[in-house]
Symmetry: C2
Amino acid sequence: MDWGLEAQDRLNEIAGCSLTGPGVTRFPFTPEHAAARKIIEGWMTRAGLEIRLDAAGTLIGRTGPADAPAFLIGSHQDSVRGGGQYDGIMGVALACLAIEALNTRGTPLPCAIEVLAFADEEGVRFPTALLGPRALAGTVDPEVFTLEDRDGISLGTALDAFGGAQGDVVGLARDPGSVLGYLEIHIEQGPALEQADQPLGVVTGICGIERNAVRFAGQTGHAGTVPMEGRRDALVAAADFVTAIHDTARNWPGLRATIGSISVFPDVVNAIPSEARLTLEIRHEDDRRRADFHAEAREIGAAIAQARNTGFGIEQTYAQPAVPCDPALVAALEQAAPGAPRLPSGATHDASAMADLCPVVMLFVRCRGGISHRPEEFASADDMGAAVDAAARFLAALPNRD
Amino acid sequence: MDWGLEAQDRLNEIAGCSLTGPGVTRFPFTPEHAAARKIIEGWMTRAGLEIRLDAAGTLIGRTGPADAPAFLIGSHQDSVRGGGQYDGIMGVALACLAIEALNTRGTPLPCAIEVLAFADEEGVRFPTALLGPRALAGTVDPEVFTLEDRDGISLGTALDAFGGAQGDVVGLARDPGSVLGYLEIHIEQGPALEQADQPLGVVTGICGIERNAVRFAGQTGHAGTVPMEGRRDALVAAADFVTAIHDTARNWPGLRATIGSISVFPDVVNAIPSEARLTLEIRHEDDRRRADFHAEAREIGAAIAQARNTGFGIEQTYAQPAVPCDPALVAALEQAAPGAPRLPSGATHDASAMADLCPVVMLFVRCRGGISHRPEEFASADDMGAAVDAAARFLAALPNRD
């Protein structure tokens, strides 16, 4: 059996569980989700797993003694609007195939294993995400069930109609002693593995994220009547900031700093901008380095404001700490995927929430052009086959708990 | 008589001809315009002028033989929304006062003089402007009469209802031999005279204006998963451009370059901008220097695009040539306003359109903080008094044509 080609076939099939339009659009607790669930149940059955849906809508396939501590492996079934057919669902498919491969070869599993297909990681339908892993970790805020989608349907109502049970979600919290760890296989969603010419990468941690609102305040004036000398142009100061942040960030290993949004006031062709507002997102695997860069950005902005005679402010609007992967699991995954480089994850994953419950690790699979969340998203059968092999070796090498 | 205080009183009074709200809001061919017209007729009467409204809605006060060539002096009666009480209307008030001052002193006028109160220079109510001076210069496009305001009333209909006659506007074109020149007194709308500590300035020309659409095209990507190295961030390239244009323009005497508007796509906090669009407005009294700067901006943009690995485009979307003031009139105005510095006008004025008919010149009056088009717009009684004196001397010294 060519597990990579099999993975490609399965992902092509389940990509059909989508709203019409380009790419894959599969939101949680919808008819498309229900159709995908049926297909995933087929995968789990072929892997010899016992299947159940938990109260949070996570489809769980388990093998091994009922009360034994289990190693968990999974990802999410949902997509963004017009997304690709690998993000999330590939991790579920490859987990099933890794167990099926071990069964085919007659390799015994050293402990109980559960494959988890989480309902909602992208957070597109409801203004929340990660319900499934948070439920297992005991970190669900019951308020989220009242959040509504565009049609006014609450998360709780949608979950119950799908076969979940909002009232029982709090009871899903696992005893940490019953969970041995969590592995997530995911496409990289970036270009690092392609640039390194490697099919697989071992994730050392998930970057912390902070978002900042940045503002420069100058003075508007007529573009014709105010001479250049003495202008207090807020956009010019903001431009200095954009350039300085970008060029400084390039010298900070592992750091990502992005100014994704900018607006000026009054925003007309013949007026000097009196105000520029921009967003600054900073990500790093090490929260202290991220804080250091925030301080550096503040100094850069203040110096520019002085030079350009403008006001300056930076305010953190959001922060999410980094999640380090477990060193022992990282080492074990490197044994199972020889030659795979270490790299951080710049994006959040189900593993981010699972880390509140147990040691986590992630295996990244190369994706073409680093493209994700678009119909063109692609991982090759060869690379997915390599991931199945690595995951199977990893599971087989787990400490024997039977 | 203190002509400056008189000017202040008259401008305070006519400022009441406004929609309610902060500052002055007086659009053409409205009840506010009609009320202002009555007051201006009073000013013209006190200056001994014969009054008529022409077909384009310009209120004209004339003194001197009916068929003799006339020197024209004027400005506009309208304002922007929430504007000040000096822009435009001050030029009409001071023109009347200059003639009244000469009459009071018994100084004979050397030629026929007409004071012109144009209806619409700001172009706020209808998407066109300068109807009055264009009518005199014979440059009106008859299509403009079909243009509508927000309420669906056409310019032609509004003009006719006010006492004008759209069908007769084309016939207003003056024989250049019948017009000796045009003087416009206007607040500077910039900070140059205040910085030079001078009440008056002699305008050497009205800057040409060009507007350009500038675009940088890079590649979007996830703010977390795409390392800094190798990013093709369109906003970073655009920021380089903003800074370079501003700092280069400071070294070009008399040039103004403004990037007043910017937008990026996709414009979200966690995505690298794939596209940045901005406007570049360039103004200079010398069209060749403006073209030189355009070429320089093109080179700057191309070099940045190469360095940042983005696409770059610049497209001129609008161009209006410079209008030089008449050297003989400039010299005569300098005689009448000793010590007044020469300066260009960065903004367009009625004089821009009058230049198609006759030699023009402008006298700028200092305004506080360079502020215009806002309720805080202010020119002092002393400065306006100095302008009345200078205009009176200028008119009295015109070549004798009686």
